[in-house]
């Protein structure tokens, strides 16, 4: 009991001693396949971090480990110093799925989807209270979708769809948001809107982790970037991480010499990485 009291006092101080997300030597296997290999990552509060890696680099697995959807074979994840199960119950974790994972034909309105952010705050039947409705209205206002609240979710543009799910996280009161490929299928103007929105949320104290292929959007958006290739290869300011030779390392091919077709490219990239480290 005294321990938890101390803990509460500690987190109440302005400089929180716990990182917002701590991934500590997490290893995950799917059967024989190694998805994460002792990956470690520490992210401070109110930061925006871009997670870069090719398909199969373990981005989705890392997300799942942070949300506690899979149990790591080794290592641990702490959200603000707490195990993920506790963080989930407290409603701190918001999730914006990638477009392919959503059934856009589902007969729900934008408001219905945003209201789902409130379920953790509601009773047995999830009957919305006045407070819930107000939170949903505020969230919709904030992402500039108030006028589309009644629309079926599939009838939004690519960027509006993303914003609807961000609004769900806002209505939820999430202190941490995970976004999976938020810029896929989004036009340039919506991209700018989403970038501005996420910066505002971070300014309010929300920690944001974004998995993405879209490298050119990162410098304006992110405070830091992480290169993932089953393990964390690099973690630093985006302008450093995004250097071509660093990207080459994460994407397992030599982007500088891409015009020379060579079956040995992957091997060369590996040796280059070893030379660097």
């Amino acid at each position: 009991m005294s321990a938890s009291a101390t803990h509460r006092r500690a987190t109440a101080e302005p400089a929180a001693p716990h990182p917002a997300i701590l991934v500590d030597n997490v290893t995950v296997h799917y059967g024989e396949v190694l998805a994460l290999d002792a990956a470690s990552l520490s992210l401070d509060h109110a930061r925006i971090c871009g997670l870069i890696g090719m398909n199969g680099s373990g981005k989705s697995t890392l997300f799942k480990a942070i949300m506690g959807m899979i149990k790591p074979d080794a290592g641990r994840v702490l959200i603000d110093g707490k195990p993920p199960s506790k963080a989930r119950k407290e409603g701190g974790i918001g999730y914006v799925p990638q477009s392919e994972d959503v059934d856009w034909q589902f007969p729900l309105s934008v408001r219905d989807v945003v209201m789902m952010g409130r379920y953790g705050h509601q009773g047995f039947t999830r009957r919305p209270s006045k407070l819930d409705r107000a939170a949903v209205d505020d969230a919709l206002e904030r992402v500039e979708l108030a006028e589309f609240a009644g629309r079926q979710i599939g009838q939004l543009s690519g960027g509006q769809k993303k914003r609807a799910f961000v609004a769900r996280g806002i209505a939820q009161g999430a202190t941490m948001m995970l976004l999976d490929e938020p810029f896929a299928g989004v036009d340039k103007r919506s991209e700018a809107t989403i970038t501005r929105l996420l910066r505002e949320l971070a300014a309010d104290g929300c920690t944001i982790l974004i998995s993405t292929h879209d490298l050119h959007a990162l410098p304006q958006l992110c405070d830091e970037a992480v290169l993932l290739m089953r393990k964390v290869l690099m973690h630093g300011p985006p302008e450093v991480v995004l250097q071509p030779e660093n990207l080459a390392m994460a994407f397992g091919l030599d982007v500088l010499n891409r015009d020379i077709p060579d079956p040995d490219v992957p091997r060369r990239a590996v040796s280059k990485q070893q030379g660097r480290s």
Partner: protein, 291 residues
């Protein structure tokens, strides 16, 4: 004979009144459940569970236990077996479902063939709408009301599970538990519908109403009203057809639901094959007149 006579004449028989009550009840509960099944893509699962409960129902009959209990146990066995076969071999899910439910259904048929009072049990397969007894009606009523109440009280969680199980997990709910709840309700509901249309056709009542409603609205909350309404009305109409045409009642109920689906499929103003074209032509005409 005017319309009122046509509607009232069958009601002078007690067995017809019981048939209509049972059908309406089963139609409503099945239709509500079907809204989630068609959206999750669990139609095949509905087919599987509704067939796989047969041995459970037969065994329950033999030992004198409630049908629902036997059905629940075998629904659980079926789902577990499907999961095991899918996860521990290279066989894909649809094949696993096909193997498990047909085998369990066959087991049920074998059990029926070795059980002395065969006639009663054959009704489970094809339904025995016109032979519903008072205790049957009470059982259907109790199970139906329980399933309906749980579905309606937990409707928001179930919809969240159907739409975005990852978010359900992220806010501290258990998608696994919600999925299990839905499967349990599927087993209960199968028992309710057995009485009406029999094991073979239960799946129709578990899919058609939800699919019909889905073509008519973009709001899940409205689906939950449209599906049971359409299902109840078309099922009762099916019973009247079977009465006057002297055809198999359970089959007639399903045939009527199928016919209603066909009409909606063609003429729904939002999604219908012809309906959308008509709406477009009307708009064009209106635009031409405006000019």
């Amino acid at each position: 004979m005017d319309l009122l006579d046509i509607l009232l004449e069958p009601l002078s028989y007690d067995f017809m009144v019981r048939a209509i009550l049972t059908t309406a009840l089963a139609a409503i509960v099945c239709a509500v459940l079907s809204c989630w099944l068609v959206l999750i893509g669990w139609s095949l699962m509905g087919d599987a569970v509704s067939h796989a409960v047969l041995p459970g129902v037969v065994l329950a009959y033999i030992v004198g236990a409630p049908f629902a209990l036997g059905a629940l146990v075998f629904a659980l066995i079926a789902v577990t077996l499907i999961g095991v076969v899918r996860n521990t071999s290279r066989v894909k899910e649809d094949a696993a479902i096909g193997i498990v439910f047909t085998s369990l259904f066959a087991l049920g048929l074998v059990l029926i063939s070795v059980t002395p009072s065969q006639t009663d049990l054959n009704h489970i397969i094809f339904g025995n709408l016109l032979g519903v007894s008072i205790p049957d009606l009470i059982q259907v009523l109790v199970l139906g009301v329980v399933a309906f109440a749980i579905l309606i009280l937990k409707r928001r969680d179930l919809t969240l599970y159907a739409f975005d199980p990852t978010h359900a997990h992220a806010i501290g709910l258990s998608p696994k538990r919600l999925g299990a709840l839905l499967l349990g309700l599927l087993a209960l509901t199968s028992v309710v519908a057995l009485q009406t249309v029999g094991v073979v056709l239960v799946v129709a009542m578990l899919i058609i109403p939800g699919a019909t409603a889905y073509l008519l609205t973009d709001r899940f909350s409205r689906m939950l009203v449209i599906a049971p309404t359409v299902s109840a009305v078309s099922s009762i109409a099916g019973i009247y057809f079977s009465y006057y045409l002297d055809t198999a009642s359970g089959a007639m109920v399903v045939l009527t639901q199928g016919a209603v689906f066909a009409v909606v499929y063609l003429f729904s103003p939002r999604q219908g094959l012809i309906g959308t074209r008509l709406a477009k032509a009307r708009r064009r005409k209106a635009a031409a007149l405006a000019v």
